[in-house]
């Protein structure tokens, strides 16, 4: 009894790894053997809680986190409750509040979109695939909220003012424009003919021309009305511009918030050692996996990983003993292959430029499928290059002989660069056409290429709409024409080669890149096609269900582990990169390009941006003074200095924490060595002092402990 009592207090201090000098070696050994699951390592029964109510409020939370068996936990809880004889009102309130917040969180989780489906996907395919669907859900919510924003401030006022056909609306003419010589630029006739064949409606839907061109879908339909009625004024051009800017800022904030959560996890885990054996052994098994097939695959996966890692170690040892000549050869090969890759990418860009030029400049006189194909030519070329070039790069990467993790990162970077910059190239070609870079004479009358584009913003919007739509059609087509047949062939055909190729594997990086690309297209296009977020929301919802179906029917779980945590942050970084590209496009269009005379809310301004200075005059004096102050140097320079100081402070705090972590780690190692040293010393001392034999517990000896114990046994 006494021993167990001592045992209890021993285990309470066992966590610190320190034993007082009074306790002999025997007790320590005994305690470590006897302590079983029912030991309570870190809970101090005898402590008296000071601090009254504040300390007690945290305890209900803490009971759950105690690592002890359930019965003991309930006992602890009872003890805590008994210690508070009268539950004060504040205590009761705080408890009720905690319960309420738990229930509220529960209710909120019910409202979360597709919670059950994503849960199921994670169970069968693991965290990597689940992160793709979580990312998809994030984009759906983002697009839907953006659509609500645009609908509230641009679409609904537009509809209201159109239907009311306000004759009191005065087209706002800024004082400085001279429009006398520009009547020819104001002609805009989007509706070609009255009677059209029925199927052209379908073609128009796909290409954004015809009945769709002059509709709420595109920029050209909105008027530059300024409505002033009964003390209520609404300025559509200003609303359009501000909504577009706010939409971008809103998306930026959402991404940053999401990224912050992910980055916090990545930073606290120190970026994760790339392939650490201990992590693979102890955290490699996904406890959520169910099903015989999935678990077998996971076991094979882990075995494969371990074998690959051991092999990599051997190769690394071998390469370290490589000669200088071989290293130089390898690096020159890599440089050459990188040049080849860059050449391929530039070739793709060139193809896109040619296709865009051809598509924009050819007259589309005949209606029909040929016209549709011509309009879709840039999209087709972009999609084709997005399939072909990464495939070739993957084959080239096999020759480069990087380590597997480096190969994956390189492939991802190359694919990102290709996709987003090809979009940039398309836009640059369009822009060059609009500002007639090659033929400067055509731009003189109207300030933009009127000959080709009566309303250039709508054309750009149409191009973005087509890109989005084609991307969607390609995804569905690949699903139907490639993945389902592949599964049917693999399941029904018994050739060895087919079985070896096997079912489709759901690769997360290419799919996520597709999502980022689609989102970037939507961002660049929203200024010219306000309903594009709605189109994208519907598209993403359909893609969710299609991908889910194909995942469960056609795919097998991945053979290579996919580190979801560290890759999540890469996805958000790539999304940010797309956002930056879209913002550049936005700023350029707003500030530099001349809006069309014939259509849109900015038809009489010299640039889209000029609406803001013009409406600035309409504000009250104090607001003007305030805004002038905010924009002046007297405000911005101190702000800049202050943010620099804040940044330096945060960086300094971070480095101090890093240093203290390193210090603690070395301290831990030193303490371990101290413990061993002290143990040896105690052994020597007991030997010297000649502790009698009957004090040495036979149970301890038969435990077969350290070698020196056996020596003692044989000693006497």
């Amino acid at each position: 009894m006494e021993l167990t009592g001592l045992n209890r207090t021993d285990s309470a201090t066992a966590g610190q790894g320190y034993y007082s000098a009074g306790q002999s070696l025997r007790l320590r050994r005994l305690s470590s053997r006897v302590s079983n699951q029912n030991a309570t390592p870190h809970f101090d029964w005898g402590s008296s809680r000071e601090g009254g109510e504040d300390g007690n409020e945290e305890e209900p939370q803490n009971v759950r986190e105690l690592p002890m068996p359930f019965g003991l936990r309930k006992a602890v809880r009872q003890v805590q409750q008994m210690r508070i004889p009268v539950a004060s009102r504040r205590m009761r309130q705080s408890r009720a509040l905690k319960r309420f917040s738990a229930e509220a969180k529960n209710a909120l989780a019910l409202v979360t979109l597709w919670r059950r489906a994503i849960h199921q996907i994670g169970g069968h395919f693991g965290g990597g695939v689940q992160s793709y669907f979580v990312f998809l859900r994030f984009l759906v919510v983002l697009n839907f909220l953006s659509f609500l924003l645009i609908a509230a401030f641009v679409l609904i006022p537009g509809i209201v003012f159109h239907s009311l056909d306000l004759s009191s609306s005065v087209p706002q003419l800024p004082n400085s424009t001279n429009i006398t010589g520009k009547e020819e630029c104001m002609v805009y006739d989007p509706n070609p003919g009255a009677l059209t064949v029925f199927y052209t409606y379908f073609l128009d839907l796909l290409s954004g021309t015809g009945f769709m061109e002059y509709s709420y879908m595109f920029y050209g339909y909105y008027n530059n009305t300024l409505v002033v009625a009964n003390g209520f004024s609404y300025n559509i051009p200003l609303a359009y511009l501000l909504t577009a800017s706010f939409y971008f800022i809103f998306c930026f904030i959402c991404i940053i918030v999401r990224m912050g959560g992910v980055a916090r996890v990545a930073v606290t885990t120190g970026g994760g050692a790339a392939r650490s054996y201990s992590m693979m052994v102890f955290t490699g098994w996904d406890y959520g996996l169910q099903g015989d097939r999935a678990t077998k695959l996971k076991k094979n996966n882990i075995r494969y990983q371990l074998q690959v890692d051991l092999e990599e170690e051997r190769i690394k040892l071998k390469t370290q003993s490589q000669t200088l000549l071989q290293t130089v050869g390898l690096y020159s090969l890599r440089a050459f292959l990188n040049l080849v890759v860059i050449g391929l990418i530039i070739g793709a860009f060139f193809g896109i430029t040619l296709a865009t030029r051809y598509s924009q400049e050819t007259d589309k006189t005949q209606n029909g499928i040929l016209d549709l194909l011509l309009e879709y030519l840039p999209s087709i070329v972009i999609t084709a290059s997005n399939f072909v070039v990464p495939f070739l790069c993957d084959q080239i990467a096999l020759l480069e002989k990087h380590s597997p993790s480096t190969t994956i990162i390189l492939a991802l970077l190359r694919a990102v660069f290709l996709r987003l910059v090809s979009l940039g190239v398309l836009l640059a070609t369009l822009w060059l056409n609009i500002t007639c870079n090659s033929k400067p004479d055509e731009c003189i009358p109207c300030g933009y290429n009127y000959g080709q584009y009566q309303c250039w913003e709508t054309r750009v919007g149409q191009e973005m709409y087509r890109l989005a739509l084609f991307d969607f059609l390609t995804t569905i087509a690949v699903l139907i024409l490639v993945e389902f047949p592949r599964r049917m062939v693999v399941d029904n055909c018994s050739w060895k080669l087919i079985k070896w190729v096997g079912r489709q594997e759901f690769l997360v990086p290419p799919n996520v890149l597709g999502l980022v690309y689609a989102q970037t297209v939507v961002w660049t296009g929203t200024l010219f096609c306000p309903l594009l977020p709605l189109v994208n929301t519907i598209k993403l919802i359909i893609i969710f269900y299609c991908k889910k179906v194909t995942l469960f029917h056609n795919c097998r779980p991945a053979t290579k582990t996919f580190r979801s945590t560290s890759s999540n942050i890469v996805f958000f970084l790539v999304l940010m990169f797309g956002w930056i590209l879209a913002t550049t496009v936005l700023i350029y269009s707003i500030a530099e390009l001349h809006p069309s005379f014939g259509c849109g809310p900015f038809r009489f301004s010299s640039t889209m941006w000029s609406t803001i200075p013009n409406s600035f005059q309409g504000l009250s004096n104090t607001t003007q003074e305030f805004l002038r102050y905010v924009g002046s140097q007297a405000f911005s320079i101190p702000l800049f200095i202050f943010s620099c100081v804040l940044l330096c402070y945060v960086a300094a705090v971070a480095s101090v924490y890093g240093k203290s972590v390193a210090l603690l780690r070395t301290q831990l190692q030193l303490e371990g060595r101290d413990k061993q040293f002290l143990v040896k010393q105690i052994e020597e001392l007991t030997q010297k002092l000649g502790i009698p034999k009957h004090d040495r517990d036979p149970m301890v000896l038969s435990h077969g402990g350290a070698p020196w114990e056996q020596q003692q046994d044989g000693h006497s």
Partner: protein, 187 residues
């Protein structure tokens, strides 16, 4: 959904809510799962605190645990008698720790216990070899098992005593980004 359930007294439900990470609804749902394993053994009325233990075979046949190579160890760690036979309390405790709301330290403590096959509060080389065998369907050669165990001890053993203590394990878990998402059973 309100207060109409007659399985537990309100005090019992409160205690469960405080001692696990589950809400009221989830506790009742888990009770149903527990009962579905053996409807004739589990009474409908827990207000009298019956002493009912389900044998390990039933627990190990649950779809969430059936294919897990560590299911026996999980049941042994969370059961009162150490043999895998679980009462409702043990059942709730197990799924509470394995749920997504449990904090990292708590999960690390129980993970350590699960991988400690011989229950000596240390993960020694034989425990590691056991773990590896279960993880890879015994398809690694003896040499490879030995090499991997040595590497693991190299990396994680900070006080250099040839085996992993709870502190070593927890220190290593802190650096693992995926631990919270893999040590998680969805029920």
């Amino acid at each position: 959904m309100g207060n109409k359930q007659t399985i537990f007294t309100p005090q019992q439900l409160d205690a469960y809510q405080d001692c696990t990470f589950f809400t009221r609804k989830e506790i009742l749902r888990l009770y149903q799962r527990y009962r579905d394993l053996a409807p004739q053994l589990v009474p409908l009325d827990y207000t009298s605190k019956p002493d009912v233990k389900l044998p390990y075979q039933l627990i190990g046949s649950m779809p969430e645990l059936k294919d897990n190579p560590f299911r026996q160890r999980i049941a042994e760690v969370f059961s009162e008698d150490g043999e895998g036979n679980m009462t409702l309390d043990d059942f709730l405790d197990m799924f509470s720790v394995l749920s997504e709301m449990a904090p990292r330290d708590l999960k690390a403590y129980y993970a350590f216990k699960i991988y400690d096959f011989n229950n000596d509060d240390f993960i020694c080389k034989s425990d590691l070899e056991n773990t590896l065998t279960k993880l890879t369907r015994s398809e690694l050669t003896e040499d490879e098992v030995r090499m991997v165990s040595e590497k693991v001890l190299d990396e994680a053993d900070l006080d250099n005593d040839g085996r992993l203590s709870l502190e070593d394990f927890q220190h290593m878990i802190v650096r693992a980004p995926d631990f919270l998402s893999t040590f998680h059973i969805r029920i």
